[in-house]
Subunit: 337 residues, 2 copies
């Protein structure tokens, strides 16, 4: 119950903070640029609304981390909007890189306004992320505000490292699960660990507590991704609301796929021949399972989930926000959909 | 002489600082990503060397501003590398946006590694710019380090505003010189004004002195661009080493072109019909001159140059670095090549 109640309190404040940041582009002559950003954020244009906005998991993590570390969640709002803007900058560029026509059922920026404007819109969100974060100056000491900027900058660099690896794996035939963790540490875990660490920092938590929150966010990211990859092949398509086979069809270098490639058997040979057709998916999923990929992924997800929840306990989280953070972590990690 | 001497002192330190920053990506598994960045910076790969590196005008402006404001130029090195990395991030993304195959005679990142990796390399340079700047923490007060970050962040946002305008002008038939200044303020002047302001800030100059340096950088940017646009059509091709006609052929929305479009005459009609062929260039350049575009651009350049040099005097610049900064400004503004 506490998660639901706190989300009702936090989510409107997060949207306000995001609006306030993006309003910096709402100037004469820049109306269409502002619209592009507001469209991407799910506020304007066709299909705008809660569905288009996404779940705002990252800013929620920031605020819940901050409150559960004993801080006033409002002091962490600049960090919450900063991480959400970084996440959205990366989505805009990802969509171009992956040539994805749709995101959350709506046209992506590059399909609607072209690659050039979409690259620039992503760059603007990147700049706005740091402008948003800088408001921490008003809520914490100058030293802590500088530390916050450093945390987010390094998360951004690690994000680009992970993205580099992901892109570089395309068409490679020599991948193994060893190649999975550095990619996912960059693509998923870096920003989540920044969320939880920034929350603790905004609460002026001691450095060992900040480190525990950071560790929790990192493990949460790895565990979440392993679970997501498991469901991406063996999830119940009816429950997930998307084709359970999509990870095999999209060519995503997920944990079971890299495990399978590392075996160098029939699955690996087929994977390297090119795009997988929907009718091949059940057979390939069985082949992967027979290779041990499902069991390995399941074990990894379980092990990482246990570690993440352990790390969360180590933070010494408190109060209603502590309960809510625990609920959110469990929802993210123990979902079957 | 002082400019030459100081450049010999500053340029190797700038390269060192840049190397040190980009070395953060020099890690196992990221070798090719590091190479992409080092290639773009002009350090590695075919054609590497002084020519490929560019002139490092922006970091020189930072250091000369700092020293001429009475500071130790070494304290400004983090800012110098920060602005150069922002400049280079924008070049990498510009080259994709403009589909330019070459930069400084070498293949651009996107032609060599594809659009996806080039977008990511630009993003990495963006993140590294702020990581570089953050080292100001070690050279100035926390408050000044935060102010420095804010200056660079806002310059980046203004840069994306200018880029948005530039891209949005493509194919538009209703442009006038009114549309020129906001674009150039963003694309050229924003980063130059950040350079000079950051230099003064690193020297711990008072806020009115910082404001004067900022104003100088802004006017320097506008004056430089007006002069560049003049030479881009009427410069002596033999002296510039590039076709004097290139601005008309590349379709650049330069000051004389927007002036000409604002007249709505024969030039405007021809411009809107599509790409201009080399054999049309002399006639169109004459037409533009007859329309008053050359005189207008020349006057603008002269007026802005005078204002920029006046603003430079207002900074109260001192010593050998002051002389050198004055020389650099004059070289940039009064060049005929």
């Amino acid at each position: 119950m506490s998660l639901k109640r706190l989300m009702e309190e936090y989510l409107p404040a997060i949207e306000d903070e995001l609006h306030q940041t993006i309003a910096q582009v709402d100037r004469p002559g820049l109306e269409m640029m502002h619209f592009m950003l507001a469209y991407h954020m799910g506020w304007e244009g066709e299909g705008a609304g809660a569905e288009a906005r996404g779940k705002r998991i990252r800013p929620l993590l920031v605020l819940l981390s901050s409150a559960s570390a004993g801080g006033d969640w409002r002091a962490a709002l600049p960090a919450a909007s900063g991480v959400e803007l970084v996440h959205n900058f990366s989505l805009v560029h990802d969509d171009i890189q992956d040539q994805s026509p749709l995101r959350r059922g709506r046209q992506t920026l590059w399909t609607r306004w072209g690659v050039a404007q979409a690259i620039n819109a992503g760059d603007a969100l990147f700049a706005l992320a740091f402008i948003a974060l800088q408001r921490m100056e008003g809520t914490v000491s100058p030293q802590a505000a500088l530390k916050a900027a450093q945390i987010l900058q390094e998360a951004c660099l690690t994000l680009t490292n992970g993205q580099y690896l992901d892109l570089s794996y395309e068409g490679r035939s020599d991948l193994t699960i060893e190649d999975y963790w550095p990619m996912v540490s960059g693509k998923t875990a870096a920003l989540l660990s920044a969320c939880t660490e920034l929350g603790a920092l905004a609460a002026q938590a001691k450095s060992d507590v900040c480190a525990a929150y950071q560790r929790f966010g990192h493990l949460l990211g790895l565990a979440f991704q392993a679970q997501d990859d498991l469901l991406g092949i063996w999830g119940d398509a009816n429950l997930t609301g998307k084709s359970a086979e999509s990870d095999l069809i999209s060519g995503k270098k997920s944990l079971p796929v890299l495990f399978g490639l590392g075996q160098g058997g029939a699955f690996a040979r087929r994977w390297l021949e090119g795009a997988i057709r929907p009718e091949e998916v059940p057979g390939l999923a069985e082949q992967l399972e027979a290779n041990g990929a499902r069991a390995y992924t399941q074990e990894s997800a379980m092990e990482l989930t246990a570690q993440a929840l352990e790390a969360l306990k180590d933070t010494g989280l408190q109060g209603e926000a502590g309960e809510a953070l625990f609920s959110l972590a469990r929802q993210l990690l123990q979902r079957e959909t």
